[in-house]
Amino acid sequence: MNIVVCIKQIIDPEIPAEQFRLDPATRRQIRGGLSLVVSAYDQNAVEVALQLRERGGGTVTALCLGERGALGAVKTALGMSVDAGVLVSDPVLLEVEAFGVAHVLARAVQKLGAVDLVLTGCVSGDTGRKIMAPLLAEELGWGCVTFATRVQVQDGRALVRRIVDDGYEMVEGALPLVLSILSDDTNVPRYSKLKDIMAAAKKQVPTWTAADLGVEPARVEAAAARLRLRDMQIPHRESRCELVAGDTPPEQGARLAERLRALKLI
């Protein structure tokens, strides 16, 4: 079975509030000295792929669209024992809307050959959008299951536990499929073994350009954007926290309740 996991390199989102800065011109986050990481949710997707490989054999390929430096993200995935990695990097692909990204990723998946499953994290680690898997499914013409936590594959069909608003569903469909992966206690990403990290450092990772993939320019040019960023506002937050006093924790607890009542919050 051939599995492709789409991974994204992002600015580490787990930073204190003071370290978050916006560029006034682009209205995007300034990287500054902040570290770049593989989105945590994409790592859950890698873990699911690795578990499927352990159970049923096959290969796992990490696919990353990003700047040149995103090679580091591919190497991280290889260090998790993913079999192969591909970086798609091209100046014309730096500022592309989600629809264009889906087009590019779909082309890369098609170039990779016979793929049975494409996995993504259930949410983009920086934009917070949860749309890539459905868009990819539309580009590829495949079925789609979002918010999947557990996946079993047998005889060309997948059985997936999908988390929904009030519980979960067991969803079933024929491969190939696109799945977006949500974390739970069964897919916590494994620690990378030293031998895999060292092997990853030596592995060749091809870089594909838009031309290599036959990307349609009309799908990725600036005019293709269906939404335009007009403004980015930072909501004002009252940062003063009133700490409830008390000689003992139970006293603090009681005072907290009284305070909430006084504020008419309960």
Binding site: P134, G143, C144, T149, V171, R228, S239, L260
Partner: protein, 327 residues
């Protein structure tokens, strides 16, 4: 002239709070631009009901009737809605930002060549421009985006937009959309649905949310949170650490990969305040934190806090709450 379509899951009667919010947004958009409000009802079965949607602001009710639309299945819903679009012709399409909307919205947009914005918290007009507001960077910012083309699809968060008021006796028209749907459309099928026990309020719409995190160190303390939630008539949530540990069901998660909640009161117990968690609860009006670590990021967001061990603080807090509210 901006015509707005809202998509309603279910037969249309009674009208849910979330649907009333969609209609509120649709009505304000249409009124500002002399457009019309359409409501699509996806259900199978005989026509009837739906007057409540009209009473809450829909000018035209469109019934998309087909047996394959009886269960919420994305392949069928996307196809059905696509078939209805040439008849309805809206500029803006609003869906609820729930499990189904999060999949149907993007796929519908892809097929229509429309823009898509999910987790929308406000919809506005500026002349003929349609502006959509959405939290970004884990809730640290609010992005305001303008549709460059129409139609545009948006999924709207619950409790973000003022709902439409009912106007008894309001009239509108009801129409049917003939649909051609085939079982071969269905790529994935639901074999089983398991509702996880939710006592009391639902997270997405609760006025009060009590959440537990890594600091609880296990599943058992969540029973105390359930007790507290019951007294406060609220819902219980959890951080990703707690759901990843398997202490509570995944559907209880509040955060970037879980639910976004905007209660009047959010009580975070044993939660450090990771960015991806704050993304899920930053919409809360009042935030209370109980944590042993005075440097936990949650205290930067909280309005009221107790630095202490929940094991020692909670029983007294719960007892006093019970006293004050039930005594």
């Amino acid at each position: 002239m901006t015509d707005v379509l809202i998509v309603n899951a279910g037969p249309g009667d009674p009208v849910s709070q979330h649907t009333r919010e969609l209609l509120g947004a649709a009505r304000r958009l249409a009124d500002a631009t002399r457009g019309r409000v359409h409501a699509a009802v996806l259900a199978s079965g005989p026509d009837g009901g739906g007057d409540a949607l009209i009473a809450h602001g829909a000018d035209t009710l469109w019934r998309l009737n087909h047996p394959l639309l009886q269960q919420p299945q994305a392949d069928c819903w996307v196809s059905g809605l696509c078939q209805a679009m040439p008849l309805i012709g809206p500029q803006v399409i609003l869906l609820a930002d729930d499990a189904l909307g999060k999949e149907v919205g993007p796929r519908l947009a892809a097929r229509l060549g429309a823009g898509i914005l999910t987790e929308v918290i406000a919809v506005a007009t500026e002349g003929e421009a349609v502006l959509l507001h959405r939290p970004m960077y884990g809730g640290r910012t609010v992005a305001i985006l303008e549709a460059t083309r129409f139609p545009v699809v948006a999924t709207v968060k619950p409790r973000a937009i003022p709902p439409a008021a009912e106007q008894v006796g309001r009239t509108g028209e009801q129409r049917s959309v003939p649909l051609s749907l085939d079982p071969t459309l269905i790529r994935v099928s639901v074999r089983e649905r398991v509702a996880e026990e939710v006592r009391g309020a639902r997270l997405e719409t609760a006025r009060v949310v009590v959440s537990g995190g890594r600091g609880l160190k296990g599943a058992e303390p969540f029973q105390q949170l359930q007790e507290l939630a019951q007294i406060l008539k609220g819902a219980v949530g959890a951080s990703r650490a707690a759901t990843d540990a398997g202490w509570v069901p995944a559907s209880w998660q509040v955060g970037q990969t879980g639910k976004t909640v905007s209660p009047e009161l959010y009580i975070a117990i044993g939660i450090s305040g990771a960015t991806q968690h704050l993304a899920g609860m930053s919409g809360a009006k009042a935030i209370v934190a109980i944590n042993t670590d005075p440097d936990a990021p949650i205290f930067k967001m909280a309005h009221l806090g107790v630095v202490g061990d929940f094991k020692a603080v909670l029983p007294a807090f719960i007892a006093k709450c019970r006293d004050l509210l039930q005594g």
